[in-house]
């Protein structure tokens, strides 16, 4: 007999023979039928089919043989005896058809036999199958055995179970024993078959020419399911139903078989075959098909096996599968500790200990074990450990300790470590913990902040590992920032803020140790994460204050200590340039402490002196911060003699910033009544201004801010003006006004001085209950007011305005001055402010005259311009800003749905536009005077 040469031909051949076979069976012509069966079985002899094609033919054959076996069973023994037939088919010519026929008949015979006869038949079949040593054909014939015998091997089970239930209790033990033997035999049978199949499967790899290796590998992957099915079969035998496992007896029985016979045999196969594909596939299948709680108890054996696998096998992949199974199981079982204890008792070993021993073994046995696999492994063990044991951070600590030491031993240089970056980021930010199980385990943001906090506090090696990443700066910073962001999110976005609590200074030190790399981080490209550090400082302070009743930071003095050690960390031995960004936050916290201390001072009258001194002390700390910053900026100056524009900007910015910090400090001190401290801070501000603030634009703004601050002070002058002739306030405001009159640009001088006039005219501060309108009110009587000096300022300002050669500027400043005069006119009585209606009228006259001469310039200008252009220009409008900059207002024609923004005018304006600025401003002011007339009769004295 020969087989067909094309696949289609082979297929039709099988189908045809199958039809013929059926026809003969219908006529009860068994011998004829067997002949056709034998014919179609010839097709399975062809060695040229790929596994896929072979499988397709096998399916056709399998279906036909099923029809045949149905006939055989139905007609036994009235038309034939299966024992005879079993002998008969042995005479078939070729081994493949012979075996298929034999197995078909043999399995039919199994239906009628039990006990030892059945076992004999099974043994015989498996022995005969050895006759085929071609991998593909051999695999399929063994697969055929397994498919055909499946029902008997597993049916045995259910049958005996039924018997068990029906029989008397007395007999149970004996049946159980018999049962056990059967199960053992069945397992052994499948195991045998499996071992042979596995050998064939591995052999397939080494068949044919070397260049077809890849092709072979592909084919093997296609065939792997045949091998895997054997393990599935095994698991079906020993798998216990829910109710059986409750009894526990069967469970134990099955488990014994599994742990003593099945698993060792399987693992031995895996190790001995030395084949990567086989090892990876089979280990994975073992993890997948057998019950999870078996794995717990046989964890030692499983893990040990992996150490001896082919070095090319990715162990961590296998372990991860196993760990995922275990964690899923733990999560399914619920996370109650009781369950876990039970499981621990059952397994007789500690899961974590097992894994712990395992990674140490790997390290000892496998010197070639790569670091990236270690990292993945550790990540998974942490994951398992955290779901298995709820709060055992000591495990996490051990693992990080292990990682830290592995790092040290491997002594990797930075480029070698580059490929580890993503792994480390995942491991050290616990990215693993944060995704996937969110909904299931109901973990929230609070949980995470607390989780990270616990890790930092309880696992010193975690910080050690992070610090060890110093050569991989980018990833180190990324890890820290990621974790800090968790804290920030927690602080901002959750109601439940008490979740993590800063308990002691020791904890604080640990937290700061962890933050240290970020605190010191210098990124030449800017954006070095100091914003996160600053936010973290706020968070630490908030946490401390919120939880002060239950932590060791009960008093303000305790809290102060914390802020001081925070400050020292940030400064890092006087050399951290990042303090420019982080110190302002520390200063804010100091300010908060000062205000709190002041509040306590008002509550605990007995301890007023104590708080008084404390407040003074904190102000000194703030002052230290200021001078640190100042020194730092100046030091920077010296270092970079040839500093470029960017550095110049930074310096102006920083000096200005320190100047303003001093003013804010002064204001705060003044509000609390610490006039000496306030005076001192104002003096420091002056020093900064005089020594370091050189940019004229910044000077102008800085001085105006100082004027604003000084104008709001209350503590610097005494109740009685006469007594305090040489009071602090006087000297400060005179100094301020003097600086104003010495500014570089005349228009700055003029504006600065007219603003300084307010320093001699204190106004109400609503928030502390002052009200000028209350007749004979106590509050306004001691206001610092001096009309004479006020008018002097305005006059001085007017002289400056008048002396400016630019007519437009001069006019605009006069209009601004007019507005200032109107302010005093409206707010105070003429005899007090000395700003009289006459004075204002004089100013208005002066402005009118000047505007007239300005308009003459305009007429000259007009003669030149074209009429068209003129119209266009008219639609433009210009104003001056607070600092005298020209702004071009958006034109009136813009559609209501468009937003337009005024442009800062940089190019030179036409004279016409320039003239419009003071003229329009003056007109608007006059409108104001006119409307005020109806409300305040005094305004009628002003002539417009």
């Amino acid at each position: 007999m020969v087989y067909a040469d094309t696949f289609d031909h082979a297929r039709s051949n099988i189908k045809q023979n199958s039809i013929l076979m059926k026809r003969q069976l219908d006529k009860f012509q068994l011998m004829e039928a067997l002949k056709f069966t034998s014919n179609m079985l010839q097709e399975l002899r062809n060695p040229h089919w790929s596994p896929k094609q072979y499988y397709e033919l096998y399916i056709l054959i399998f279906d036909s043989l099923t029809i045949l076996s149905e006939y055989l069973i139905e007609n036994h023994p009235k038309r034939h005896h299966l024992a005879d037939l079993y002998e008969l088919v042995q005479y078939a010519g070729n081994v493949i058809p012979r075996l298929y026929l034999m197995i078909t008949v043999g399995t039919c015979y199994l239906h009628f036999e039990t006990g030892t006869t059945r076992q004999e038949i099974l043994k015989d079949m498996i022995e005969m199958a050895r006759g085929v040593q071609n991998p593909i054909r051999g695999l399929f014939i063994r697969y055929f055995i397994s498919q055909r015998t499946k029902e008997f091997l597993i049916e045995d089970e259910t049958l005996t179970k039924k018997q068990n239930n029906n029989e008397e209790d007395v007999n149970v033990i004996s049946t159980n024993e018999r049962d056990l033997e059967t199960i053992k035999f069945n397992c052994q049978f499948i195991l045998n078959n499996f071992i042979e199949m596995n050998k064939l499967w591995v052999r397939l790899q080494y068949q044919g020419p070397l260049k077809e290796r890849d092709q072979r590998t592909k084919e093997r992957k296609e065939l792997q399911i045949l091998i895997g099915s054997q393990l599935v079969r095994l698991s079906q035998i020993i798998e216990d139903d829910e109710d059986v496992s409750e009894i526990g007896q069967n469970d134990n029985k099955y488990f014994q078989i599994y742990s003593q016979e099945i698993l060792p045999a399987l693992l031995e196969q895996i190790i001995q075959c030395k084949d990567t594909i086989c090892q990876e596939y089979l280990f994975d299948i073992i993890c997948q098909v057998f019950p999870d709680h078996y794995h717990f108890k046989t964890l030692d054996q499983l893990l040990n096996t992996t150490i001896y696998l082919n070095p090319k096998v990715h162990i961590n992949k296998l372990i991860i599968t196993l760990i995922h199974r275990l964690t899923d199981y733990v999560n399914r079982q619920g996370l109650t500790t009781k369950d876990k204890d039970n499981n621990d008792d059952n397994g007789g070993n500690d899961i974590f200990e097992t894994f712990w021993k395992y990674i140490n073994d790997i390290k000892k046995e496998r010197h070639d074990f790569p670091l990236d696999q270690f990292i993945l492994l550790i990540q998974d063990i942490i994951h398992l450990s955290l779901s298995w044991y709820n709060q055992r951070f000591d495990h996490v600590e051990s693992l990080f300790q292990f990682l830290f030491e592995t790092f040290k031993e491997q002594k990797l240089n930075s480029t070698e470590m580059e490929y580890l970056d993503p792994l480390l980021l995942q491991l050290l930010t616990f990215a693993h913990e944060n995704d996937g199980n969110d909904i299931e385990t109901n973990k929230t943001i609070e949980h995470y902040a607390n989780f990270y906090y616990q890790v930092i506090i309880k696992c010193p090696s975690f910080t050690k590992v992070i610090l060890a990443l110093n050569t991989r700066k980018a990833i180190q910073i990324k890890i820290i920032t990621t974790i800090v962001n968790k804290f920030i999110i927690h602080e901002l976005f959750t109601e439940e803020k008490e979740y993590w609590i800063l308990n002691s200074k020791v904890e604080l030190e640990k937290l700061l140790e962890f933050l240290q790399p970020l605190i010191n981080y210098q990124n030449p490209n800017g954006g070095n994460g100091q914003e996160s550090v600053a936010k973290m400082c706020h968070i630490i302070y908030n946490n401390m204050v919120r939880n002060k009743k239950i932590t060791s930071f009960k008093t303000i003095e305790n809290q102060l200590e914390v802020v001081l050690s925070l400050k020292n960390r940030l400064n890092n031995n006087n050399g951290n340039p990042n303090t420019i960004i982080t110190y302002p936050t520390i200063i804010t916290i100091f300010w908060k402490l000062i205000r709190t201390a002041n509040y306590l001072k008002s509550k605990l009258t007995k301890r007023q002196d104590y708080y008084h001194n404390l407040i003074k002390q904190i102000f000194k700390y703030v002052s230290r911060c200021n001078s640190d910053l100042f020194d730092f900026v100046n030091l920077n100056n010296v270092d970079n003699e040839a500093s470029d524009v960017v550095d110049m900007d930074t310096n102006i910015k920083m000096t200005d910033f320190i100047f303003k910090l001093n003013l804010t400090n002064a204001s705060l001190a003044d509000q609390l009544g610490y006039n000496e401290i306030a005076y001192d801070f104002f003096s420091q501000a002056f020093t900064v201004f005089e020594e370091s603030l050189s940019d004229s634009k910044t000077q102008f703004q800085a001085l105006n801010y100082m004027t604003q601050c000084l104008q709001k002070t209350r503590s610097l002058y005494g109740e009685n003006e006469e007594e305090n002739k040489d009071n602090y306030y006087d000297s400060l405001i005179v100094r301020c006004t003097l600086h104003g009159s010495k500014l570089l640009k005349k228009q700055d001088q003029c504006r600065s001085v007219y603003l300084c006039s307010h320093l001699w005219w204190a106004t109400e501060i609503n928030s502390i209950g002052e009200d000028e309108e209350v007749e004979d009110g106590d509050s306004t009587q001691h206001f610092y007011r001096n009309g004479r000096r006020l008018l002097e300022c305005l006059q001085r300002s007017l002289r400056t305005a008048d002396s400016i050669m630019d007519n437009v500027q001069s006019c605009e400043l006069m209009v601004e001055l007019l507005n200032r005069c109107l302010y005093y006119f409206a707010r105070g009585e003429e005899y007090e402010t000395r700003v009289t209606a006459n004075y204002i009228n004089g100013l208005i006259e002066l402005i009118k005259t000047n505007l007239k001469s300005l308009s003459l310039e305009e007429i000259n200008d007009l003669t030149i311009t074209e009429p068209n252009e003129q119209k266009e220009i008219l639609s433009n409008e210009y104003v001056t800003g607070l600092d005298g900059t020209y702004w071009k207002l958006p034109s009136k024609e813009s559609s209501p749905a468009i937003i337009s923004i005024a442009q800062l005018v940089k190019s030179k304006l036409s004279i016409r536009d320039m003239i419009s600025i003071p003229t329009d401003h003056f007109n608007r002011t006059c409108d104001y005077i006119l409307t005020q007339r109806s409300l305040d009769a005094r305004f009628q004295n002003i002539v417009v």
Partner: protein, 319 residues
């Protein structure tokens, strides 16, 4: 300046659900958000999440006016630039004179700020003017306005800039009133940051009484104090009377009291009120101001309407 009747305070508090912001897009109007004194990270961590959610509606807000002390955080600036590409920034006392404003580029990964500091670095002006509908809106952080927060000095500025609405900041207190037909809005601090100004120490006298002589063509005027303020000041006043009356007993008791037993309200340390910001909804000559205040974890919304008074007698030319 006229305040709505004390009883009326409840009347103008119209609760608006956050959804409301979305509805705006179907109307022909312009939305302008006014924010100020964020002080991130120097004095505050961030704006409340609920504010972020309210503001995070891209393409609806036409303009943002950033009124000082809000440029220290790049993160915050890029958050704002995602809300609206148009941001007007004026300089507050603690802003750098020159800053680089992050621009959201389509190609950029989300929220990444360009690391090159020289790129589009701009000098911050002290004042800025925006035109929306019929309104000219002036922006100013108020830090060079002397006297600080004085309505009349702000009026001078509004006149100088020739604007109808003046947005200012620096007090960390949300405020809105009309004066001389001009509308003055202070959105407060959007983070509720530490306030170095005089803390609010007593019950405020009613502002009706102050600067009455300036009161002319007021359309509708409101001064908004946040609830928190009132709570705080009430606390203080009751404590004060308690201290005053049974003076001797109190002092004896004090010896027993330890520092840690005293509850310190948050406002004592920060000296400021709650976070707040303003939204100006402008249609032709009507400006509806929505004041968003974050109180006890919830956002309270107040509404004030301002109509531009464009009667001819107001525009009388000077003769």
């Amino acid at each position: 300046m006229e305040r709505l009747s004390a009883r009326g305070e409840e009347d103008y508090q119209i609760k608006i659900k956050p959804k409301r912001l979305k509805e705006f897009k179907y109307r022909r109007n312009m939305l302008l958000v006014a924010l100020g004194d964020a002080y991130i990270p120097n004095r505050a961590i961030d704006i409340p999440l609920k504010f972020k959610k309210l503001l995070s509606i891209p393409d609806k807000i036409s303009h943002i006016a950033l009124l000082g002390n809000s440029t220290q955080s790049n993160e915050f600036l890029s958050f704002l630039s995602e809300i609206s590409p148009n941001i007007s920034i004026v300089r507050g006392e603690f802003d750098n004179p020159k800053i680089s404003i992050p621009k959201v580029k389509a190609t950029d990964t989300k929220g990444e700020v360009s690391n090159n500091p020289d790129e589009n670095k701009e000098e911050l002006p002290l004042t800025s003017i925006i035109k929306v509908g019929d309104f000219r809106i002036g922006c100013c952080s108020g830090y060079t306005v002397v006297p600080k927060n004085d309505p009349v000095s702000l009026l001078i500025l509004a006149r100088q800039l020739n604007v109808d609405i003046l947005l200012w900041s620096g007090t960390h207190n949300v405020e809105a009133y009309t004066l001389e037909g001009k509308f003055f809005v202070n959105p407060g601090s959007c983070t509720g940051a530490f306030n170095s100004d005089w803390p609010i120490m007593d019950d405020l006298p009613l502002p009706q009484e102050q600067s009455q002589q300036n009161n002319s063509s007021t359309t509708s005027a409101v001064e908004t104090d946040t609830k928190e303020d009132e709570v705080v000041s009430q606390d203080n006043s009751t404590e004060k009377t308690a201290v005053e009356e049974p003076k001797q007993e109190k002092q004896e008791e004090e010896q027993e009291i330890n520092e840690e037993d005293i509850d310190i309200p948050d406002s004592v340390a920060t000296g400021s009120n709650t976070p707040s910001f303003c939204l100006l909804d402008i249609q032709n000559s009507t400006c509806t101001l929505y004041i968003y205040i974050y109180v006890d974890g919830d956002v309270r919304v107040d509404k004030v309407v301002y109509k531009k008074n464009d009667s001819p007698e107001d525009n009388q030319p000077y003769n």
